[in-house]
């Protein structure tokens, strides 16, 4: 059963130096507060996995928490580049960053294989692209029934997956809705999981299009209102588009980023 705990305790217990960590949320429900708590607890040497390493991973990478990034699209959506990510790849700042690069279809299928308890997934992908020449986790496999050559990608099984959802009940059952991305797969693929939620309620009122993660499939739940900001939680908040543009000015230079870290992450003693 999921333990309902604080964000600080959950990160302290579940995320260790050197772990493979997936923070998911496809533009919606991105667990930003949890990402900042990982920085605050000064985790290092992480392998970060995420389809769209946007601001949340720009922050973790710039803070030097990551050794490796497994991803399929690394930009600031609707704005442009991730400058901390670029600085790490191009200049190894603040630490070298190894990358393992896929397409969205490949990453989504890697999570599906992980959630399914299978060693790999099959898809019709990557054909003709230069990705397989640089990413050794893209191989080909021949269909035993038709002879078609298909792409094979290994399962992702993170040590810990972290997502943000709208609600949980007091027993730790999790409810989310709207764009649900690949979060269910990420949680089910992981050895341990943390879900931050907008609120913990007595009863989960059904919502159209909802996804339920039963308490027994989740390790910990922490109540973190606004924990997705500048991303959003449908029904609770709107996407802060201005912040995404503002991040460009923070992330662009090392000094402005460091100042942001000191003030907004390390300067905040206790996680929300």
């Amino acid at each position: 059963m999921a333990e309902i705990t604080s964000l600080r305790d959950a990160v302290a217990q579940l995320v260790h130096d050197g772990d493979t960590v997936a923070l998911e949320g496809f533009t919606h429900l991105i667990p930003h507060a949890a990402g900042q708590e990982i920085i605050r607890q000064r985790r290092t040497d992480l392998t970060l996995v995420r389809m769209t390493p946007d601001i949340v991973y720009d922050q973790l990478i710039g803070a030097g928490c990551a050794r490796k990034l497994v991803f399929s699209w690394g930009g600031n959506p609707g704005v442009g580049s991730l400058h901390r990510f670029r600085d790490a790849v191009q200049n190894s700042w603040p630490v070298p960053l190894e990358i393992e690069e896929h397409s969205h279809a490949g990453m989504a299928n890697r999570y599906v294989a992980g959630a399914s308890g299978l060693p790999f997934a099959v898809l019709r992908g990557y054909r003709g692209t230069d990705l397989p020449r640089h990413t050794d986790t893209i191989k080909t496999i021949t269909c035993p029934f038709t002879g078609e050559e298909l792409a094979a990608v290994p399962a992702i099984n993170p040590d810990v997956s972290i997502i943000h959802a709208q609600r949980a009940d007091r027993a730790g059952n999790v409810q989310m809705w709207g764009l649900v991305g690949v979060q269910k797969e990420a949680v089910l693929a992981a050895k341990r999981s943390l879900v931050t939620v907008e609120e913990v309620v007595d009863e989960l009122t059904p919502v159209p299009g909802q996804v339920i993660l039963p308490s027994w499939a989740v390790t910990a739940v922490a109540e973190v209102p606004g924990g997705a900001h500048p991303s959003y939680a449908s029904g609770y908040s709107e996407r802060d588009n201005e912040y995404y543009a503002y991040w460009d000015s923070i992330g662009r230079e090392r000094d402005s980023f460091r100042a942001w870290l000191d003030e907004k992450v390390f300067g905040v003693e206790v996680a929300r």
């Binding site: 397409s103 299928n109 019709r124 992908g125 990705l131």
Partner: protein, 255 residues
């Protein structure tokens, strides 16, 4: 060319209008954010209100009343026929060939329509510029029935050969897609702020088939990094109509 008539629209507006006109009613379109999304939503507002817009964040049939700020903008989900998971987008809807048009942008495009959104520079491990990467594009370019690319044209972005093939166009020429077993026809249309290019039916090399009003062939050649061939029957894009411009500007102004 005469320059006495002052244009009442920008070249970017001409590009969006030309791209919107390429879409026809009822088509199912996989929409990338940015220029493609602007054009697709303009088409819905003008001549193709039954266009089915699919965004990779997991929406089928989005009908936004303003331009989405990102593919995860809540308005795409709130106005969709169905909201689905990301694995479902790629496995159930894109991969089996249910989508007519993949509508993509590009950082770098070459004369055979190959797209690079990964790195500038030929050393992947030590790139000159690290770009965002593939996203959904490789499989969109492979599996949609055809691909339209909308991109601003410059010598820097229109190159003889891309530094990195993120999304396969026509490789190095006709027949390569078939050899690779790619289901879709690949890029059939490239729309820029200067004109329109289509692959030559025999070689698959992109050829200038249309220029926007007020643009010269020399201008387009000057903005192309290879020796651009020009179709025998070059046409001129009619300028945006009042209705098109009004719809586009309302769309961009809507909050």
């Amino acid at each position: 060319m005469t320059t006495t008539v002052e244009r009442t629209y920008t070249s970017d507006e001409m590009m969006s209008v030309a791209a919107a006109r390429a879409l026809t009613g009822g088509q199912r379109v996989f929409v990338g954010i940015g220029l493609p999304s602007t054009a697709a939503n303009l088409a819905r507002r003008t001549h193709a209100d039954d266009l089915v817009l699919i965004y990779e964040s997991g929406t089928l049939g989005s009908k936004p009343t303003r331009l989405p700020a990102s593919i995860g903008d809540g308005i795409l989900a709130d106005t969709a026929d169905a909201v689905i998971s990301v694995p479902e987008v790629f496995n159930y809807w894109l991969q089996p060939g249910r989508i007519d048009v993949g509508f993509l942008g590009a950082a770098q495009l070459d004369k055979f329509g190959n797209i690079n959104t990964t790195v500038i520079g030929t050393d992947y491990a030590d790139p000159k510029v690290r770009l965002p990467g593939a996203g959904g594009a490789p499989e969109i370019a492979a599996n949609c029935h055809e691909v339209y690319v909308v991109v601003r044209q410059s010598k820097r972005s229109f190159v003889d050969q891309v530094d990195f093939i993120t999304s396969f166009g026509h490789g190095r020429g006709k027949g390569e897609r078939e050899e690779l077993g790619l289901p879709g026809a690949g890029p059939t249309l490239v729309i820029t702020d200067l004109g329109v290019m289509r692959p030559d039916p025999d070689t698959a090399e992109l050829v200038l088939t249309q220029i926007h009003e007020g643009v010269t062939v020399d201008q387009v050649k000057e903005a192309t990094g290879w020796d651009l061939k020009v179709a025998a029957e070059l046409t001129t894009t009619p300028p945006p109509t009042e209705a098109e411009l009004t719809a586009l500007r309302e769309l961009k102004a809507a909050k």
